[in-house]
Amino acid sequence: MSWRIAKASIIGSGHIGANMPCQDSHYVMQIGDTLIVAVSDGLGSAAHSEIGSKIASEQAVTHIANYFDSLKPPKKRLQWWPFPAKPAPKTQPEPDTLETVCRTAFTVARDAVGVRATAERKELRDFACTLLVAVVTPNDWVVMHIGDGAVVGILDDEATRTLSTPDNGEFINMTMPLTSADYLTHLRFNHKAEALRGVALMSDGVQPMCINFKTGEAYDGFFRPIIQWLRTLNLVDTDVSMQKLLDTPRFRQKSDDDMTLVLALREPNP
């Protein structure tokens, strides 16, 4: 069971005007049946947040991917020693271990940003960014979130449900970043034994189009057509197509911020 993924981060028109880089980043890995996605939005107020968001998303995903890699059964070796073979290691994650590994990913990501900050003799806050991570195994999903942006789960019947809503400060121009001292108290963690058909992660630039400000609900009129569309795309075109979609005047008109959307769907069983 593999994944069909369309992903893009594009620079906001407001950032082009202000001569700022695209501060959104995303990173995706598949280990066997498991999908690991991170989206990170570098804060506009931080001088090097585009680096912070890149490091944070890559490190968080890689850390979790290493764990799933370790669950793979080892290659069969020729048995020459006349003792009974060891029992095969577990290939499914233990719920507790999975949660610990996922939580640690945020510390790992933050530390990695800190190492870069120290190396460049800058402050950690100069690299401030949000971080959303989703891990989807065949039977479970884990969603972790600091700051704004949102995660939407695509259920088996292609209905959508918001798995994690944005956490703004009181005002739209205040966000709690991964780099804050008390980041772990702001980390929202959700783990559920539920099989998802797909998942969508977005930065706050895409939020106004599809997440209701008041209720946090995912807007079906947005997700349904995109899901249908992704099913029909040629696999080599998915990322470019997603980029084109975000770059349309309709999206640009609604948001002048950087925009990231990662949409992943399980391929049907052959």
Binding site: G12, G14, H15, D41, L43, G44, S45, A128, T130, G147, D148, N168, E170, F171, I172, N173, M174, T175, P177, D204, P208, M209, C210, I211, N212, F213, K214, T215, Y219, G221, F222, P225, I226, Q228, W229, L233, D237, V240, S241, K244, L245, T248, R250, K254, D256, D257
Partner: protein, 219 residues
């Protein structure tokens, strides 16, 4: 060329709002050229806001005047903002006017929250040329302003016109008051409009660097 999907956007999501209350001194001491210049400044404020399409849909203006303290105009979208012509008379109940402005912002924020409207930190912009006449009411207003400022609940600015008690203004907020150079209300309002415009175009998480006030104050 790939076809793009026909997506629709959640139609109930409103634009974010930036509320600004102007607290204006219309006491007797403002009579004459001061109030005339202030009125012209307000017109310039409107004209300047109308050149900015984003600010027009996001900035909301209210006016509280004092002498006596009264709500002259409730929150109005910048696109519909049409400043009333002010007349000067009466005393200077600065404290009461500030309390009223703070109350209005509290109510407005609740309304935003109830409607799911995202909002920026609201602004309170005080202009006065005198000293408070309502005893110590300004002191309790000062406590509230400092409290709100420390929680980033509002951004408070005060401008002292010639004759203003700058010592009182200093105690109102941690942000120092700005003395108005002559009667350059017009330049001041153009700056205010540009600053609100900048805030209303900012990104979430962004601290907005404002253009330093130039030409209308001596810092």
């Amino acid at each position: 060329m790939t076809n793009l999907p026909d997506v629709s956007f959640d139609p109930t999501n409103p634009d974010p709002r930036c509320a600004c209350v102007l607290v204006l001194d219309t006491s007797g001491s403002m009579y004459g050229e001061k109030i005339d210049q202030l009125n012209q400044g307000l017109v310039a404020f409107r004209d300047s806001l109308q050149t900015d399409s984003v600010a027009q849909s996001r900035v909301e203006i209210a006016i509280v005047t004092f002498g006596p303290a009264q709500l002259l105009q409730d929150f109005t979208g910048a696109s519909q903002f049409n400043p009333p012509t002010l007349a000067a008379s009466g005393d200077t109940p600065l404290g009461a006017a500030l309390q009223q402005a703070l109350d209005m912002i509290t109510i407005r924020k609740k309304l935003y929250r109830d409607n799911g409207t995202p909002y920026y930190r609201p602004w309170v912009f005080l202009i006065t040329d005198g000293a408070p006449t309502d005893n110590d009411a300004w002191k309790s207003a000062a406590v509230r302003i400092k409290d709100e400022e420390s929680r980033k609940g509002i951004a408070f600015f005060s401008v002292g016109v010639e004759g203003a008690d700058m010592e009182v203004l200093k105690q109102l907020s941690t942000r120092p008051p700005l003395p108005l150079k002559g009667y350059s209300f017009r330049e001041m309002f153009v700056w205010l409009s540009a600053s609100l415009g900048k805030v209303s175009q900012s990104q979430p998480g962004q601290q907005v660097p404002l253009t330093p006030p130039e030409g209308w104050t001596t810092v």
